[in-house]
């Protein structure tokens, strides 16, 4: 805008003491609003009341007033000087200045209200987050409790199924028992998965960072499948690169879980052919290694949309055969979360009728300090249970019966009691080779009993005490080992697992 003459910006008027315009001295701005012998208050209502109150010969300035001219609003500053007979009125058009001030003012105030709104929303969000956290905690607690409650009867079902299977029964009954066992085991996987997922969601998943022998881990995986999938029409193949460092820092239990879940998933969707696991090095230097774990199957494959949602929770792709394997659709969701927790990535490629490949890439720190052990310590071939004095405390009659059956078969010398108080009395009067304590028992729980060391110290100070429990999460197990249990037997268990664990701890 070109600089205008000063008369464009102000008008000078004289009024008498009652506000009647007596002279228009100068100016062009809003000139049409002012007429001789007319009240100045028509154009300047803000002067009414103020004009009368002016002190004589005392110049006065009021800023930011609004006057209307030709239906347009103007912001003006007004200078007034009252004398004995008249009032000089100088009106400056300051619209342009006030326009910017108004915008700044509006922005400042809008910002203030936005900040306030944001603050209130944050408070509300925080409240909702707390509600959600509490609900999630409740859910985890509920799931943990339910999981425990389910494990006990499941142990009984699987235990008795195993016992019946050892009897002389017809082939048809054997066939029925097979499906009963598969269903029971499947239910166990579901319970474990739900509990695992709830723990991951609640942020309670803590990964260990201990030396892991990857070759040994794959061997263990191979052994696990040797017995459980011998009746399948699928070859299970394992291949491990010789470039792998012997030890890396990681969480062997969770790695095993990742691979088991992937292999189980592949087995589920593969009727013929092979499920192959490849472990290879992507990159390696002195300190770091990135390893790829690939599980490939020759199964029915997936469509692109199925593959896209395969890691979502409760995602179940329909099986087209009549097999009764069917999980809760949580296995791969758990794998994805575990891989992410290890700073790794997971991907899937699949072709219909050709098969599917899952690839997990995980970075590890190389462990050069761990010395390779010359022999494997876990192979237990001898029967140490034979003639051993074993105390078993479990409040569940059916569980006691199963344990009794196994111990009898192994020729153990055992005592059964139904709660912690009875167990303590037994431990005070007799020395045992091994004690099995159920965790949740009335009167005195296994957890409380093991803490009362001085009460049984005299006769059983060196006796290995094992926890027998449905609370079999990694965190639970760590907790039990911390308070003095030598080992944990998670329910449900097979008689082979039970015997192995007892022999290991009696050795």
């Amino acid at each position: 805008m070109a600089i205008s003459k000063i008369e464009h910006f102000f008008i000078e008027i004289t009024t008498n003491l009652t506000g009647v315009v007596t002279e228009i001295v100068s100016g062009k701005f809003a000139i049409s609003e002012f007429k001789i012998q007319q009240s100045i208050y028509i154009a300047c209502p803000f002067l009414e009341g103020t004009l009368e109150a002016l002190t004589i010969n005392d110049p006065f300035l009021i800023e930011g007033m609004v006057i209307v001219s030709n239906q347009k609003e103007y912001n003006v500053d007004v200078e007034l000087l009252k004398t004995e007979n008249e009032v000089a009125v100088l009106i400056h058009n300051r619209t342009n200045v006030y326009k910017y001030a108004a915008q700044l003012n509006q922005n400042r105030n809008d910002l203030f209200f936005l900040k306030r709104e944001l603050h209130e929303k944050n408070i509300e969000l925080d409240r909702l987050r707390k509600v959600a956290d509490k609900a999630n905690e409740e859910k985890s607690r509920f799931l943990a409790m339910m999981s425990h409650e389910v494990r006990n009867p499941l142990n009984v079902i699987l235990g008795y199924t195993e016992l019946i299977n050892e009897e002389e029964v017809s082939n048809q009954v054997k066939e029925h028992l097979k499906y009963l066992t598969i269903s029971g085991k499947n239910l166990k996987v579901i319970v474990d998965d739900i509990l695992d997922l709830s723990r991951v969601e609640a942020g309670k998943l803590q990964l260990s960072n201990a030396p892991v022998d990857l070759a040994l881990l794959i061997d263990q995986l191979k052994n696990n499948y040797k017995s459980s999938h011998r009746d399948l029409d699928i070859n299970l193949e394992f291949s491990i690169s010789n470039k792998l460092p012997k030890f890396v820092f990681g969480d062997d239990v969770r790695l095993l879980q990742i691979l088991t879940n992937l292999i189980n998933n592949s087995i589920k969707f593969t009727q013929k052919g092979a499920v192959s696991t490849f472990v290879d090095v992507i990159s390696l230097d002195k300190k770091d290694v990135k390893i790829s774990f690939k599980v490939t199957d020759t199964g029915r494959g997936m469509t692109e949309s199925q593959a896209a949602s395969v890691f979502e929770e409760y995602q179940q792709n329909e099986l087209d055969d009549n097999r009764i394997h069917k999980g809760a659709g949580l296995g791969l969701a758990i794998v994805k979360r575990l891989v992410a927790a290890m700073n790794g990535t997971i991907s899937v490629t699949s072709k219909i009728d050709l098969g599917t490949t899952f690839q997990v890439d995980i970075p590890f720190k190389v462990d050069t300090s761990t010395v390779i052990k010359s022999t494997s310590e876990d192979v237990v071939n001898n029967n140490y249970i034979n003639s051993s004095r074993i105390l078993v405390a479990d409040d569940n009659f059916l569980n006691r019966t199963i344990v009794a059956h196994i111990l009898k078969k192994e020729n153990a010398n055992f005592t059964l009691v139904k709660d912690g108080v009875e167990a303590l009395l037994e431990m005070q009067k007799e020395t045992f080779d091994l004690v099995l304590l159920d965790i949740n028992m009335p009167n005195l729980s296994g957890e409380s009993l093991i803490k009362q060391k001085e009460a049984y110290h005299q006769s059983n100070s060196k006796t290995p005490i094992l926890a027998l429990t449905g609370n079999s999460s990694i965190d639970d197990i760590k907790g039990y080992l911390k308070i003095g249990f030598k080992d944990v037997i998670p329910k449900p268990f097979t008689s082979a697992q039970f015997v192995d664990l007892l022999n290991k701890n009696l050795k």
Partner: protein, 161 residues
Amino acid sequence: MIAKKVLLVGNFGVGKTSLIRRFVLNEFSEEYISTIGVRVSSKIIQIENQEIKLLIWDVAGTSDDEKVPKAYFLGSSAAMYVFDLSREETYKNINAKVDIVKELSGLKNITIIGNKKDLVSSKEIEAIKKLIPFSIDLITSAKENENVEDAFKELAKQTLN
């Protein structure tokens, strides 16, 4: 007919302009447009059998560290201090703020108005009343046209004192 100059002061966004719009034009807008400078409106009302032309100065709202220019108060007969019932910062130090208005205006009494009644519960209003060291003249809602007329009548009465 006598004309009386009155001022509405208070923090920005408490609804001074909305109260005046409701009183003078019987209108309300949800849109917030901050006032710059001073806008003068007028309305004739009847108080104690006499007609008064109220010249209502809608003074731009202030933040906590700003004062209304003293010049605005010249010749004013009454002033209304408006606060927002839903914003604690507008009535937190109301005692000190009202004292400043009294000092600038030379007025002994200031009409105290708690606006935006529609945004708070009666329980909250009771809590605010307990918090404020002097009595609130009226609780208003420009949005729902509650007690607005009475508030200006109260203000007009002050001009006659």
